[in-house]
């Protein structure tokens, strides 16, 4: 009986996603159809002859009525067929997989960095309100949210890579060594292969791009944690916890954070979108072979099939992550009813 509302709520939230996913598919489908002029002509360039243009139009299904084109597109993506790259001629779903793993590895570590640093900085700022320990991190957070991510990446490369020579600035691992891929997550694959030297190399390659990508979300998380904690620390139960002699650390981290975390969760969910979008820029700077770089290269080649699929996959990931955050939010804050 107790878990029924949770299941009903989860099912309803998933059901509500259907029209959104449907709308996303329409927008992504429209990318190729909205190109001004003849898409086949644009893809092949001005010098293409009429025969090859006609052939490409047929291959892309552009000679069919619009509703039929969309029907076929939807049917294909539902079966996991993301189409064929116009440049390499390979199935996009196969090409995309290693790129997706690279992006997942990068964004996951960027998020871990952002959450750990952001939440703790926010807590300490709220705890030491109106002191230098509060002002300095909050000033840095303001700089953090105002910084272009690609510039931060370049500055990190300059300082830590080129001046101090502490960390590598390009790629996922040492280019002279081939990582035997099983999961396409290099940290896992190198561990599975028992190659600890390569594992360490992969970790070192991950640090700078993850820091660059995670800095802006970290700044937002720190600001949100601070304001949420300030709200919570005013409450009577915090005063009671202090009155009964509980150590300040436990008051703040146990009673405070537990109650302040729900709004922070929402920001974390929204920041996933920033991470996925920011991945395009970070991956371009650090030569990280993820989905962002895959899309960026496809724009250069006018490979619209790849652009469509890359954007579709990232949007779907964003939707799913937000669903998970939404469900966790209700779990973390029992006052929210499953309506």
């Amino acid at each position: 009986m107790g878990c029924k509302p949770v299941i009903r709520y989860t099912a309803r939230r998933i059901f509500q996603l259907i029209p959104v996913l449907f709308g996303v598919s329409i927008i992504v489908f429209a990318i190729i159809n909205l190109i001004p002029g003849d898409p086949a002509q644009v893809i092949l360039g001005e010098r293409a002859d009429a025969e090859s243009i006609q052939k490409l139009r047929h291959e892309l299904g552009l000679d069919l009525p619009l509703y039929q084109q969309y029907g076929n597109y939807l049917l294909n993506i539902l079966q996991g067929d993301l189409g064929t790259s116009l440049v390499t001629g390979k199935a996009i779903s196969e090409e995309l997989l290693p790129h997706l793993a690279a992006t997942a590895e990068l964004t996951l570590f960027a998020m871990i960095f952002a959450v750990i640093v952001g939440v703790n900085v926010g807590i300490v700022s709220a705890w030491k309100r109106n002191t230098w320990i509060d002002y300095i991190p909050m000033l840095l957070a303001l700089v953090g949210v105002s910084m272009p991510i690609f510039w931060l990446g370049l500055m990190e490369q300059w300082l830590f890579g080129l001046q101090l020579e502490w960390l590598p600035v390009l790629g996922r691992n040492d280019p002279r060594v081939t990582v035997e891929t099983i999961t396409h997550f290099y940290l896992i694959d190198t561990l599975l292969a028992g190659n600890y030297e390569q594992f360490w190399s992969s970790v070192r390659h991950l640090i700078l791009p993850a820091m660059a990508l995670g800095t802006i979300p970290m700044a937002y998380i720190a600001r949100m944690t601070r304001s949420s904690m300030l709200e919570v620390l005013k409450h009577d139960y915090v005063r009671t916890a202090r009155a009964k002699g509980l150590h300040e650390f436990f008051v703040v981290y146990k009673h405070g954070l537990k109650n302040a975390f729900a709004p922070v969760m929402t920001i974390i969910g929204l920041e996933v979108g920033r991470l996925l979008g920011g991945a395009v820029l970070t991956e371009t700077i650090f030569g990280w072979p993820g989905v962002g770089q895959y899309i960026y290269n496809a724009i250069g080649y006018r490979d619209y099939a790849v652009i469509q699929s890359g954007i579709l996959v990232l949007a779907v990931i964003f939707i799913v992550v937000n669903l998970i955050v939404d469900l966790l939010y209700s779990y973390l804050d029992p006052r929210i009813q499953y309506k």
């Binding site: 690609f150 300059w158 954007i311």
Partner: protein, 298 residues
């Protein structure tokens, strides 16, 4: 929060010199009291004036190349040094302010107008039209912002105007949702019912009563939105999808100079600082506006 009356000197009160403060003048007074907002406002003004008067302020032509004078460090002749084509960086930064301010402000104005109209219609009329508009907003917000902008520019082709358009389209749902939520609250107010009872037309109610009561959050969000739009424009410029050569756009300048990061780091650092300073300005000013105009939102 103290009221205007409470902060008045006693002698003024006793002499009966009670000035009536409008909500706006009260907001301006509160804004001026905040140091951070004043610094932000000064930065915003500085960048807008720089953009406006760039042709008068720039000591050199921002696109004139001088291949005999490439990658020169900052000096009395070239305050910010020269780039890989020998162009004066200081002049390019000044002209860059013009581009960034134009994109930032006009893209926000575009999304504000469209978003406000859609939000007003959705919130006020409700029913199927609200469902339709809200679902469109949901779908647009399902894409990470910069990714949708990249998709739009990939369709329309790279260029400054298309970048502006893409940024404006991407941000429409943010303003739309804000206005819709505000309208849903205002709709139940008694003065709206009274206006209805008087036989006032729907459109008149919308523009005379509902819209003026939604201004505050829109102005705040719009100011903060300029900061995001500047960052988005710079990102598109960096990816080669925004401004095209030889335009002096900050993001594009960064992209073009990244190969010289070891030999001439200033060509990479200075445009980044310019972007950051302008964004900090709008963020500080926006935060200050929120605190001054909408104390409940603090």
């Amino acid at each position: 929060m103290q009221s205007g009356l409470a902060t008045m000197p006693a002698e003024e009160l006793s002499a009966g010199k009670v000035r009536r403060r409008t909500p706006w003048s009260e907001g301006v007074r509160r804004l001026r009291k905040q140091k951070a907002a004043v610094i932000g406002g000064a930065l915003v003004l500085l960048f807008i004036l720089t953009g406006l008067f760039a042709p008068l302020l720039a000591p050199h032509d921002p696109i004139e190349q001088n291949l005999a004078n490439t990658l020169q460090p900052p000096s009395a002749e070239h305050w910010f040094g020269t780039d890989d084509s020998g162009r004066d960086m200081f002049s390019r930064i000044l002209y860059g302010a013009r581009i960034s301010m134009t994109i930032g402000i006009f893209s926000v104005l575009g999304s504000l107008v469209v978003g406000t109209l859609l939000g007003l219609i959705a919130g006020f009329y409700g029913k199927w039209i609200d469902t339709l508009i809200s679902r469109i907003f949901d779908v647009m917000l399902a894409f990470p912002g910069i990714l949708l902008a990249i998709a739009i520019v990939a369709i329309l082709g790279p260029g400054l105007f298309n970048a502006l358009l893409a940024i404006a389209i991407v941000n429409v749902p943010m303003y739309g949702r804000l206005v819709r939520a505000k309208v849903l609250g205002i709709k139940q107010e008694e003065y709206i019912m009274a206006a209805r009872a008087q036989g006032m037309s729907q459109v008149r109610i919308l523009f005379r009563h509902v819209l003026p009561n939604s201004w505050t959050p829109l102005i705040v969000q719009g100011t903060l939105g300029v900061a995001s739009a500047i960052l988005e424009a710079a990102a598109l410029g960096f990816l080669g999808l925004g401004a095209q050569p030889p335009e002096a756009e900050w993001g594009k300048m960064l992209a073009d100079s990244r190969d010289y990061i070891t030999t001439a780091p200033w060509v990479v650092m200075i445009p980044g600082f310019a972007i950051m300073a302008s964004v900090i300005g709008f963020n500080l000013f926006g935060d200050g506006l929120r605190d001054a105009l909408d104390p409940k939102a603090q």
